[in-house]
């Protein structure tokens, strides 16, 4: 009897000890006591694809994150921050806006594994470092490039180009070659360029990409950086030359219809930027060349071909890098990116951004959509087709300077004036001197006391 009692006592003591160990663990806050909120500007397919990345986070950690995609991201984020109720994470495409939040002290640092940091090529780490708030904790990160796009690309339908006969001798490698091709197409009574400036609420930005790309490849990385940083006048030769070069290129086609009422369908001001390339796949093609960022591939893939089916990479669409004008210092590409930042610090938020930066997460999106990772550990074989692989190669190779979209680096007032000027220029190219003078006045005010300097990644 005594032995039995002793046994029971031991059992009770053992159970108590187990309980003492287990209960605190079970009852300890897992950190996932609420759903994390992530805000960004991806809608439609991109939002769905990002949802799959967040599903991966849920599977890996058990934590849930809710994504909210909005056309009015800037307004919503600003209102949330002002009301003291920011989202946990935000995905922003404009470093200029991020800088605003960094200067206000709204960004929160987060720890990131050294190996993850090292997986990002140095060109991209430069950008992340440039977004670091002043007096920030050097052991913490404040931004990660979640996905990137190549902007220095000209898209075409290989079959349609071959049908041009001797006018097509392969992708041009110089500006002179590009203008010759454009002129030849125009001379044949066809429309060389697929133009679409409508991108509500920021209509006109597709034109800013043109000016940026030309300026970079014509006047070089150094001039591009100075211009983006507000240290190069809009009245300077590099900027004027870029606008004039664009105007000359477009002179091969009748850009703006004479009768806006009757020809609204041909008006590039009213044509949506994503749909502008659709006529390229028509029979006969409505246009031949499309200067667009790499994300345009997802738009192409939803076009219905006249013979049925959707355009396929390499067979129906391909791209060539934006050609250089041949000067010194012009080996660079224009890029854009969506940058992840933490606005509300917490353990789950740190976990989420660390997950998004991880190679595991970076592999998901390229596998399902048209996003590109700059994580060098994401293999080229993770991309489904040769066009994507070429884009991914250009985004991660260390030989060229990668220059971030200048209008995204500019203060919002400067950027808005720039997009507005593009629209005006297309309507009235003769107004360029006035436009540039106006833009230079905006420059004087918009940059103010801004002393930050952005440099192109890999430019030394």
């Amino acid at each position: 009897m005594i032995r039995a009692r002793t046994g029971l006592t031991r059992l009770a003591v053992a159970l108590s000890l187990v309980a003492a160990g287990v209960v605190p663990v079970a009852c300890a806050p897992s950190g996932c006591d609420r759903t994390l909120e992530v805000i960004g500007n991806w809608t439609g397919t991109e939002a769905t694809d990002f949802g799959k990345v967040l599903d991966g986070f849920h599977q890996a950690t058990g934590c849930t994150a809710l994504y909210h995609g909005s056309q009015s991201l800037d307004q919503e984020l600003q209102a949330d921050v002002q009301q003291g109720d920011p989202p946990d994470l935000a995905m922003l495409s404009s470093p200029g806006e991020l800088q605003f939040y960094a200067d206000q002290g709204d960004l929160r640092g987060f720890p990131l594994d050294d190996n993850e940091i090292a997986a990002y090529p140095s060109q991209w780490r430069v950008l992340e470092e440039q977004l670091r708030p002043r007096d920030s904790d050097p052991t913490l990160q404040y931004a990660i490039v979640f996905k990137a796009d190549l902007k220095s690309a000209v898209w075409y339908d290989p079959e349609a180009m071959r049908a041009l006969g001797p006018r097509w001798t392969g992708p041009p490698t110089s500006w002179a070659g590009l203008t010759a091709l454009s002129s030849a197409i125009g001379a044949a009574g066809k429309t060389p360029w697929c133009l679409g400036m409508e991108a509500t609420p920021n209509s006109g930005w597709p034109g800013t990409d043109w000016i940026e790309d030309i300026l970079l490849h014509q006047s070089g990385v150094s001039a591009y950086q100075d211009w983006a940083n507000g240290r190069l006048s809009w009245l300077s030769a590099p900027v004027q030359n870029a606008w004039n070069a664009w105007g000359a290129l477009l002179s091969a086609q009748h850009t703006i219809p004479d009768d806006p009422a009757a020809d609204a369908a041909q008006d590039p001001l009213l044509t949506n930027f994503a749909a502008a390339g659709t006529p390229m796949f028509g029979s006969p093609p409505g246009c031949y060349l499309d200067h667009k960022a790499s994300f345009v591939m997802s738009s192409y893939q939803s076009v219905a071909l006249p013979g049925g089916g959707n355009p396929q990479p390499a067979a129906d669409y391909a791209f060539f890098p934006f050609p250089s004008f041949g000067g010194a210092d012009t080996a660079g590409e224009e890029v854009s990116a969506d940058i992840g930042t933490v606005f509300r610090s917490s353990q789950p938020a740190d976990q989420l951004i660390a997950y998004l930066a991880s190679t595991d997460a970076q592999r998901i999106w390229p596998g399902i959509g048209s996003a590109f990772s700059v994580d060098s550990e994401v293999a080229l074989s993770d991309y489904a087709d040769p066009e994507k692989r070429q884009v991914a190669t250009m985004l991660t190779r260390t030989t060229d300077a990668l220059c971030f979209d200048a209008s995204d680096l500019m203060p919002p007032a400067m950027s808005t004036a720039f997009t507005q000027a593009v629209l005006r220029y297309l309507i009235d190219p003769g107004s360029l001197p006035d436009l540039l003078a106006g833009l230079d006045q905006v420059r004087a005010q918009a940059y103010g006391a801004n002393t930050r300097t952005y440099t192109c990644g890999g430019s030394g």
């Binding site: 909210h68 909005s70 991201l73 919503e76 509500t200 806006p260 009422a261 609204a264 009213l270 107004s431």
Partner: protein, 382 residues
């Protein structure tokens, strides 16, 4: 010698039998009366609990639907109509002369203000929560952009004499209209509206307002009624009296209580149905169709805008037509009717207090009815 227990106690459970034996006072009638009293009290407590729960849930549903969801739905529909009309006025303003532009600018400003107030109303009366609040934030952000685009468009258009600048103004008006119509503000608002409407519909068709929910309390009430009648019969047979007044009062009060609950729940459900129909009428009234500029088609601007709107916004923009036969006066009358019905739908007639109050009286009647009988015949233990 073996002791033989009297007949009734042998049927009692062992623990009860032990208590009775210990008390040393054996009375079959007392045991029966005590058991009946316990069963009746248990029954009335069950009826009160279930009826209170069922009624409260039904009433809360009607209250939430009438005083919150219906109002949120109506506010969302006002915002939709106001925004379509504001956009039409904004476009039409550039197609007319200076006087017409001034009038349209006033309409635009008033409609935008009305939409803003209505969106505040949606936020105030929202019952859906997070998805709607995110949509509301988005609409408000989009409206800020929209207003900015409109302001820029009017600045660029100026007086319309500088052709290139005027053309840019017209283009920007179309950008604004596209933000409103094509995958923009109205789409977000429609998603928000649908969420509120689904919440309202779910409340109107809530299970707590249906007949099966009434069974939750009606079945125990019916069982209690049967038990009351059975008790009357038992008492009448044992004590040779026709009716027990306490039980009779309890029976009558129980019937009154059941009737009150049934009728009042029915009234509230019926009023909510009426509210739903009235809201549906208002929504049909407010199904405004955007269209091409009307009456101003002769100007260059009108022609350009009609062409541009069809191309970019995929809708005609510049006019907004009410459904056939609907006038602003009728819209107002129908909206007032719906709002009045929604406000009047939840009316509990004090049932929240009647149920426990009447229940207490029923319990007292039951207790007294049987207790007095026990006392009358000295069957109480001493």
């Amino acid at each position: 010698m073996t002791a033989t227990l009297p007949h009734p106690i042998t049927r009692l459970p062992a623990w009860w039998r032990r208590r009775v034996l210990l008390s040393g006072r054996l009375s079959t009638t007392r045991i029966v009366l005590a058991r009946l009293r316990a069963a009746l009290l248990l029954g009335i407590v069950l009826v009160l609990a279930t009826s209170y729960l069922a009624y409260q849930q039904a009433h809360d549903t009607v209250t939430a639907a009438g005083s919150r969801s219906a109002i949120a739905v109506l506010n969302a529909s006002v915002a939709q109509q106001a925004l379509i009309e504001a956009d039409a006025a904004m476009v039409a303003g550039l197609a007319g002369n200076v006087v017409q532009r001034g009038a349209q600018a006033t309409t635009y400003r008033d409609d935008l203000a009305l939409a803003g107030q209505s969106l505040q109303g949606v936020g105030q009366f929202d019952v859906v929560g997070n998805p709607v609040s995110l949509d509301l934030q988005q609409v408000e952000g989009q409206l800020t952009i929209y207003s900015g685009l409109v302001a820029q468009a009017y600045v660029d258009y100026g007086d319309g004499t500088a052709t290139d600048s005027a053309r840019l103004g017209l283009v920007e008006v179309v950008y604004a209209s596209k933000l409103m119509h094509s995958g923009g503000i109205l789409d977000t608002l429609h998603a928000l509206f649908l969420a509120e409407q689904q919440a309202f519909d779910a409340q109107v068709s809530s299970g707590w307002l249906s007949a099966p929910a009434a069974l939750l309390w009606a079945v125990p009430a019916a069982a209690l009624l049967v038990l009351l009648v059975a008790t009357q019969i038992v008492l009448a047979r044992r004590f040779r009296r026709k009716l027990n007044a306490g039980l009779l009062a309890a029976t009558a009060l129980l019937l009154i209580l059941a009737g009150c609950i049934g009728v009042i729940t029915g009234i509230e459900a019926s009023r909510l149905d009426g509210t739903r129909d009235a809201v549906a009428t208002v929504l049909a009234d407010r199904r405004v169709t955007p269209g091409a500029l009307s009456g101003g088609g002769g100007t260059w601007e009108a022609r350009v805008l009609d062409g541009m709107c069809g191309q970019a916004a995929q809708v005609g923009c510049g006019s907004a037509s009410l459904p056939r036969g609907v006038t602003p006066t009728r819209q107002e009358t129908d909206a007032t009717d719906a709002t009045d019905r929604a406000a009047a739908a939840p009316d509990e007639y004090g049932l929240r207090y009647v149920i426990p109050g009447l229940g207490a009286v029923v319990i007292a009647s039951l207790w007294l009815g049987i207790h007095l009988r026990i006392r009358d015949y000295r069957y109480e233990a001493r």
